[in-house]
């Protein structure tokens, strides 16, 4: 903690030329941050590209030729499951996009996601995730907090709590939002019983990036106000007992002051070269795509600034319940979602790689569920419903095995037949790569040592290079 006089001087200096001094202060503090990992980390950052609503696994990463052959035939009683919206009379529905074996690894990825497909050799695909309930809110909370009921800290908060910040002037957990809060609400990104500084800071795609980040006053005025505030607060702090809380509250004003310039700086991508804009798709005429690309680019910038956990959410383009939730119009809206996200996610992976950051950054592409390989009836607006018995996600970078797949569903993609995984297994494995033991990363709450994975989770060595 800075001493009073130093801080006073700091603010004084700031008032004669804040910019340079502030950033040097930023830099010097960053080096003092001490990671709290349990063992040596392979990776330092996580970027979660949340495909909320549930992209269809059998149309993206889980190739099921049998499904096309049986298309239109009733699925029968034996294929009905409580883990999907299903009845015996529903009929199989083949993939709406062609699959191809890609790259050196020959990993099968469909044409729905051409840019991501071109990076097949970097992808570690998991095809056997099993959820709890075929419902968005529950699954989203399960994925984020390890419990379908929520009321627990989110994944990002745990990482922030476990590793601390690499950059004192930025939160270690940032949500890059696209004007749509996924089902389950902001609880998906909250710190619950962990200290509040571990909840996600929301950075919006459009308009003012962060609430209250734009100074209400001109800089000189604000500096004068802060100086007066500082003096009055110090007088108060000296007269009261619980000095620590008040000191911390005073210190937060410094951090707030610095965030006012550091965050807009990161959010503003004007200084990125043209080819980077094009790589991500910032030149797109589609506004949804453009803003999604902007958020992906910002994600990379945040990684460079030392942010630990970044989540990017999808925009909602139509009056559905969530972006990838195509109960109808599967082809139209999956194509639209792919247009918005595919190029930018691929660009993010490529860009990290070319900067040598992919080794230390885990990029995760995941929905909260998959979609049924069957449908009530086949027609022009056919869709797929909710399915959590075997859905696909991928991880890239951060020590995950590129060009690989793990877990198997049956010939219809209707249930897991080999190596079922829980999302908590993914949590455990990702934490492991960050140098955190999921069983030891706990917080005392309600008289118990609570963890992200609760009683579940194992480190899935098979996914690691």
């Amino acid at each position: 903690m800075m001493q009073y006089l130093e801080r006073r001087k700091f603010l004084k200096d700031a008032s004669i030329g804040f910019g340079a001094i502030a950033f040097s202060a930023l830099a010097s503090r960053a080096s003092q941050a001490t990671p709290l990992g349990h063992y040596a980390a392979k990776a330092k950052h996580v970027i979660l590209c949340f495909m909320d609503g549930g992209p269809s696994h059998v149309d993206t990463f889980d190739h099921k030729p049998e499904l096309a052959r049986q298309e239109g035939k009733p699925i029968g009683k034996e294929n009905v499951s409580v883990l999907s919206q299903s009845t015996a009379a529903r009929v199989w529905l083949g993939a709406r996009w062609k699959f191809q074996n890609r790259g050196q690894s020959g990993l099968a990825v469909s044409n729905l996601l051409p840019h991501i497909a071109s990076l097949a050799d970097d992808l570690c695909v998991v095809r056997s995730l099993v959820g709890k309930q075929p419902l968005h809110g529950q699954q989203a909370l399960l994925m984020h907090t390890g419990r379908e009921t929520g009321r627990a800290p989110s994944w990002g908060s745990w990482v922030s709590y476990g590793l601390g910040s690499e950059n004192e002037n930025l939160p270690s957990y940032v949500l890059l939002n696209n004007d749509w809060i996924p089902n389950g609400g902001t609880e998906n990104f909250g710190s619950s019983f962990l200290p509040a500084n571990h909840s996600a800071m929301m950075l919006r795609a459009k308009g003012t990036p962060v609430d209250n980040i734009i100074a209400a006053d001109a800089q000189a005025i604000q500096r004068e106000k802060l100086a007066l505030l500082e003096e009055q607060d110090q007088q108060f702090a000296k007269t009261v007992n619980s000095g620590n809380a008040i000191e911390a509250a005073i210190r937060n004003y410094e951090k707030a002051f610095l965030m006012q310039s550091s965050i807009p700086g990161i959010a503003d991508v004007q200084d990125e070269p043209e080819y980077i804009h094009q790589l991500y798709g910032l030149d797109s005429k589609n506004d949804f795509q453009k803003y999604y690309a902007l958020q992906c680019l910002r994600a990379r910038r945040l990684v460079e600034k030392g942010v630990r956990f970044i989540e990017i959410t999808c925009p909602l383009t139509h009056a559905n319940n969530s972006p990838w939730d195509q109960h109808g119009h599967l082809v139209k809206h999956h194509n639209e979602n792919a247009l918005i996200t595919d190029q930018a996610v691929a660009a993010l992976i490529k860009d990290l790689k070319q900067r040598g950051l992919l080794d230390e950054t885990i990029v995760i592409w995941a929905g909260e569920m998959g979609r049924t390989p069957h449908t009530p009836a086949i027609n022009a607006t056919v869709g797929r419903d909710h399915h959590v018995d075997g859905y696909s996600i991928f991880l890239a970078g951060g020590g995950f095995k590129g060009g690989s797949s793990f877990g198997t569903t049956n010939e219809f993609g209707n249930k897991v037949v080999e190596n079922p995984l829980l999302i908590q297994d993914i949590h455990a494995t990702v934490l492991h790569q960050l140098g955190l033991d999921h069983e030891r990363l706990t917080y005392r709450f309600g008289g118990r040592d609570v963890s992200l994975t609760d009683v579940h989770g194992r480190v899935v060595q098979e996914l690691l290079a």
Binding site: V82, K132, Q133, L135, H136, G137, Q138, E148, G150, R151, I181, N183, G185, T186, E187, S192, P195, A196, N197, M201, G207, D211, N212, I213, I214, A215, A216, D217, A218, A220, I221, Q222, E224, K225, A227, L228, L229, E231, Q232, D233, Q235, F236, V240, N241, S242, A245, I246, A248, A249, I250, N252, Y253, K255, A256, M259, Q260, A319, N321, G446, G447
Partner: protein, 1086 residues
């Protein structure tokens, strides 16, 4: 099981057991007291029939099993401890048992002694796992029941303190005694200005006025403090502030969150109910009863001034919390989760227990079995989850009477006008004129004329007679068909059958046929009502609900309802008490139609009922966006909504009953016309006869149907501007506009036989065990009683309420007294206020807590008396200074060696700004306003509200689960999904950013400045002095003023303000106000 229990109780009464090999009773005693409990608690988990995976093949749950032993052979050799593996393992010799835990030496010694004496063991045969489990539970239950908070509230005497010149008050003596034990002493008394500010914020959440501070500081009289305390206790803002405290505990919300954030109907009325209750100092046990079973109290609490049944608002408590997904009846799991949340909130709020932890298995640490969780589920789910009218019948009584009178006059006038209309309009030519080219349907008002209008003389007569025959035949057939296929369920000719339930003041009496809804606009009448029930008999702004019995008790699969309705009235099918019911069909037809309802009788295990409700009485109105009719915001909030039901039949099939034609037979039967002229006369007389019958209130249903048909024609007037009617209609409307809209609140109703809930094995709703009788915790039952089920044939909620609100319940008053202490000190005597179980923390002053609890109950559970007493202690009046020694010994101040200063709660920060700026609107109560938002979301009704919240207290900001006020959340408004006993006080940069840059602070600062520049302060310094004194409620020092003054001048330079303009420059003063709002002193109480 019972036998075993009694048996061990007897044994426990022996103080010690010694072992004499020749005396069987002493053998039994020794085994039961010293051996069995150890085996049960330390070994059975891995070595008994209940162990999932028996370790080493060894069972220790019966004598034969022990003697036989496991993989390593016998474990007990009677008489030879050193050859008994069990004894050796307990010694942690070669084997170590229990693993990771070495039992105390005397326990091991007991085993040695027992084996030496022959290892007497009455457990002849192994028990089945279930019995064993219950035996183990008995043991566990007894042990856990010993926990401090489950013991009766002790009668304690305050300690006697020698050399006490601090305070002789009993509470202070407890505190002082504990401090002295640690060699500590209390702090000095806080200065008077600090005390006023502390008192004002603590009791009302608002800062004191400058005048109040000054008066108290200058008041040297001995009663000054008492007068001040009484003043604040009497403030209406006391109720608001304490209501907000309780709202944390019951997870208050105005919306249901999840995907659509639908509104929680009546939540804010419950908020206002709490405010009134705290202000009126309603006994806490009464408040408990009301919130658990206010709808079932034999003498509900009535608020005569507001014509409100207060007690009926209480059960809104259950209806708070998140309501997930569309219709929870469609998804297993969601419903159970929501119920879990309700049980969790109930047990934490009223009992400081975590009963919800027993959903999947017996509680891990407290004496709460899994079965007890499900016993409570049954109590909660036996009631229906409905919306209830909370108005007394007196409300609107006068207006309704007046309206009834004028409407009768209107009906008489209308009869005359219509008779004249018919006299004038019904003639051959007019009847002929309107005949269409195509034939009309049988039953159309014009059908008979349509059949004869081209005839005359004999052909006409013949046609007339054949029509009579045709109508008679069709009517006979219809009657026969209807009699054969339809069972009349209820026709509302009298009050409905007992199992049909009414609620609402539009619907309280059965109507005769012919009443009508008085519509707005020139066409004031659209149709006449059939006899039956209707919410709009007097006004469409009154409300009503009709609820069916459980459909499984109805005779057939389909219901056929003859109904008319409009303005978003709805028919709802509620399955398994879905907390959010989306099976709602909205009515928009002024004329009666047969509606067919499929009762889903195939799903026999489901509990279903049908409900007809005006939107005001529909617990799930407005529905989520996109479901149901498209609604404007006006439609969502206006009270206009109505329905009218004549008959309900049950049938096997979906087809509606056939139409009857008695009214037509009347026409055709009365005479046979010889010519067209006579026919026209008959026609006219027929219609006039019906109008007369209507005017006299004796029209039959069939006649009303014809009159409704007549209303579709131009023959009788429907215009509100008709000269004979205009003034009466205007009067009706004027009176109607005085009707106060109905007040409804979501709650519970006991309408059906209680239904026990089936235990979910390991918490799985796919794996159902036996139904568990509805009841409450055995922990609170009389000693020795193992039966705790309710006697009620309904839910049992009233018994539940009485068990909770009982002086004998060791937790209810204790938990509440501790909460009040926390509200006044920031931390409770138990600092885990909602967990008094094993995982909660121990009380810092257990005897003080019991002493206060006993007094609280003696003092009629009066919150205000308790608050008054605490505020008079020297403990509460201490300064917030502590010695360094005190801080070293007790850094968390658990012993209260000083008054703990702390940051204001979120709402108080906003309220303090408004109050300090002098722009706070102190009005109480009312619907919430939206929080200020930077972006709106139409789909979720997340609209933005005024930046400064209409100048009202933050309490009146809408709490949305989906997106609560960001300003408040930043300052730790609790998560509205779960019960919060104690708010977080986090310290984040977002708070600094909020106070610096959020438009709220800027706006209020500017409002303050608006007022300041109007004042004729002498100079900047005196104005600064006054501002700071208002903000901090204390005397301002000269050096402080220097600081503010020089900063003001620097700001004026930066803003290029001329010296002479400083006093009138609004921006400058807003700058100063803004800085004040940002100071820590402003947001701290000390």
């Amino acid at each position: 099981m019972v036998e075993y229990f009694v048996y061990t109780i007897v044994l426990l009464s022996c103080l010690s057991a010694s072992l004499q090999a020749d005396d069987e009773s002493s053998q039994i005693e020794f085994f039961e007291k010293k051996i069995r409990p150890v085996l049960v608690s330390k070994c059975y988990e891995c070595h008994s029939a209940i162990a999932g995976d028996v370790q080493g093949g060894l069972l220790l749950d019966s004598r034969p099993a022990m003697l036989k032993g496991g993989d390593s052979g016998p474990v007990v050799v009677p008489g030879k401890p050193n050859q008994s593996l069990l004894y050796l393992a307990l010694q942690h010799d070669s084997l170590e048992m229990p693993p990771k835990e070495r039992l105390p030496v005397e326990v091991v010694q007991n085993f040695k002694e027992w084996i030496l004496a022959g290892a007497y063991d009455p457990r002849d045969a192994p028990l089945d796992p279930q019995e064993l489990a219950s035996q183990i539970w008995e043991d566990t239950f007894r042990q856990r029941s010993q926990w401090w908070s489950f013991q009766p509230v002790a009668q304690v005497d305050p300690p006697t303190i020698t050399r006490n010149n601090w305070s002789g008050l009993p509470m202070d003596r407890f505190i002082l005694s504990a401090l002295r034990k640690q060699g500590l002493s209390p702090s000095t008394r806080a200065d008077k200005a600090t005390l006023v500010r502390r008192l004002s914020f603590t009791l009302t959440g608002l800062p004191p006025s400058v005048v109040q501070v000054k008066e108290f500081v200058n008041d040297e009289s001995p009663g000054a403090w008492t007068a001040l305390v009484n003043l604040y206790l009497a403030s209406p803002h006391f109720g608001e502030h304490f209501a907000r405290h309780w709202m944390d505990v019951v997870r208050y919300t105005d919306t249901y969150g999840y995907e659509w954030d639908v509104p929680a109907k009546g939540a804010w009325r419950y908020r206002d109910y709490l405010t009134r209750a705290f202000n009126a100092d309603v006994r806490y046990d009464q408040m408990v009863r009301e919130q658990i079973a206010g709808d079932l109290l034999s003498e509900p609490r009535i608020n005569h001034e507001m014509q409100l049944i207060e007690s009926h608002i209480g059960p809104m408590f259950y209806q708070l919390g998140e309501h997930r997904h569309g219709d929870s009846s469609e998804f297993e799991g969601i419903h159970q989760e929501m119920l879990d949340n309700k049980i969790d909130a109930f047990s934490k709020a009223f009992q400081g227990l975590t009963i919800a932890c027993a959903r999947c298995h017996d509680h891990k640490l407290d004496p709460i079995s899994q079965a007890e969780y499900y016993a409570l589920c049954g109590a909660f789910m036996s009631s229906r989850w409905i919306s209830r009218t909370i108005d007394t019948t007196q409300r609107n009584m006068h207006v309704k009477r007046q309206l009834g009178d004028v409407r009768r006059q209107l009906q008489m006038a209308l009869t005359e006008v219509w008779l004249a209309d018919l006299q004038k309009n019904i003639h051959i030519s007019s009847l002929d004129d309107i005949q269409p080219a195509t034939a009309l349907a049988v039953g159309d008002i014009n059908h008979p004329w349509n059949q004869i209008f081209q005839l005359d003389g004999d052909p006409l007569k013949r046609k007339w007679l054949s029509m009579l025959e045709m109508y008679q035949m069709q009517d006979d057939q219809a009657k026969a068909y209807n009699d054969a296929n339809y069972t009349l369920v209820t026709d509302f000719d009298g009050m409905p059958a007992d199992d049909w339930h009414l609620d609402g003041h539009g619907i309280e009496q059965i109507i005769g046929s012919g009443d009508f809804t008085l519509h707005q606009g020139d066409q004031f009448i659209k149709s006449l009502m059939l006899s039956g029930i209707a919410t709009s008999r007097l006004s469409a702004r009154l409300n009503g609900t009709l609820r069916s019995p459980l459909t499984r008790e109805l005779p057939h699969d389909f219901l056929h309802v003859l109904v008319a309705g409009g303005s978003q009235s709805a028919q709802r099918t509620v399955i398994d008490n879905a907390f959010l019911c989306e099976k709602q069909a909205y009515y928009a037809h002024d004329r009666y139609q047969w509606k067919t309802l499929n009762l889903h009788k195939g799903q026999q295990d489901r509990k279903t009922y049908i409900e007809f409700a005006t939107k005001t009485s529909n617990p799930n109105f407005p529905p989520r966006r996109g479901l149901g009719p498209k609604l404007t915001r006006e439609m969502e909030t206006s009270a206009v909504s109505w329905f009218s039901i004549n008959k309900i039949y049950a049938a096997k099939g979906p087809g509606a009953p056939k139409k009857r034609f008695t009214a037509f037979i009347e026409l055709l039967k009365v005479a046979t016309p010889n010519n067209k002229e006579e026919a026209a006369t008959l026609y006219r007389q027929w219609l006039m006869g019906m109008v007369k019958a209507w005017g006299a209130g004796v029209a039959t249903s069939d006649q009303i149907q014809v009159l409704n048909n007549l209303l579709q024609t131009q023959w009788i007037t429907k215009s509100a501007s008709h000269p004979e009617l205009a003034s009466l209609i205007a009067r009706c409307r004027a009176i109607e506009s005085q009707i106060l809209p109905p007040r409804t609140v979501n709650g519970l109703a006991d309408l059906d036989a209680g239904e026990d809930y089936r235990l979910n094995i390991r918490g799985s709703y796919y794996d159902l065990g036996d139904p568990v009788p509805r009841g409450y915790l055995r922990l609170f039952a009389d000693e020795l009683s193992t039966s705790t089920s309710f006697n009620s044939e309904n839910s049992g909620r009233l018994e539940l309420a009485n068990q909770v609100a009982s002086e004998k319940n060791p937790l209810t008053a204790r938990v509440y007294v501790n909460r009040v202490w926390q509200w006044l000190f920031g931390t409770g005597i138990v600092d885990t206020p909602s967990n008094f179980g094993k995982l909660g923390n121990m009380p810092s002053h257990p005897e003080l807590l019991d002493w206060m609890t006993a007094r609280f109950m003696e003092n009629n559970w009066s919150t205000k008396q308790l608050v008054y007493d605490i505020l008079h202690t020297a403990t509460w009046q201490q300064a917030d200074h502590a010695t360094s020694m005190a801080m070293e010994f007790d850094p968390n101040n658990r012993l209260l060696h000083h008054y703990p200063n702390r940051r204001l709660e979120a709402e108080s920060i906003g309220d303090a700004m408004l109050a300090t700026a002098g722009t706070l609107d102190r009005k109480l109560y009312g619907a919430p306003h939206n929080p200020f938002r930077t972006a709106e979301d139409e789909m979720k009704r997340l609209f933005t509200g005024p930046v400064a919240g209409n100048q009202r207290r933050m309490l009146y900001t809408k709490v949305s689960i989906m997106e609560p006020s960001k300003f408040l959340s930043t300052f730790n408004l609790p998560d509205p999904k779960i019960s919060t006993g104690r708010r977080d006080i986090a310290n984040t940069p977002a708070q600094a950013l909020t106070l610096l840059n959020h438009p709220f602070g800027i706006e209020i600062a500017s409002q303050w400045a608006d007022g300041l520049i109007q004042r004729d302060d002498i100079d900047p310094r005196s104005r600064l002095q006054s501002m700071l004194a208002t903000a901090y409620s204390r005397k301002i020092q000269a050096d402080e003023l220097d600081r503010w003054e020089s900063s003001l001048f620097r700001l004026s330079n930066l803003r290029q303000t001329k010296q002479n303009d400083i006093m009138t420059n609004k921006q400058l003063w807003a700058d100063i106000a803004h800085v004040i709002f940002n100071t820590k002193e402003f947001i701290y109480i000390r």
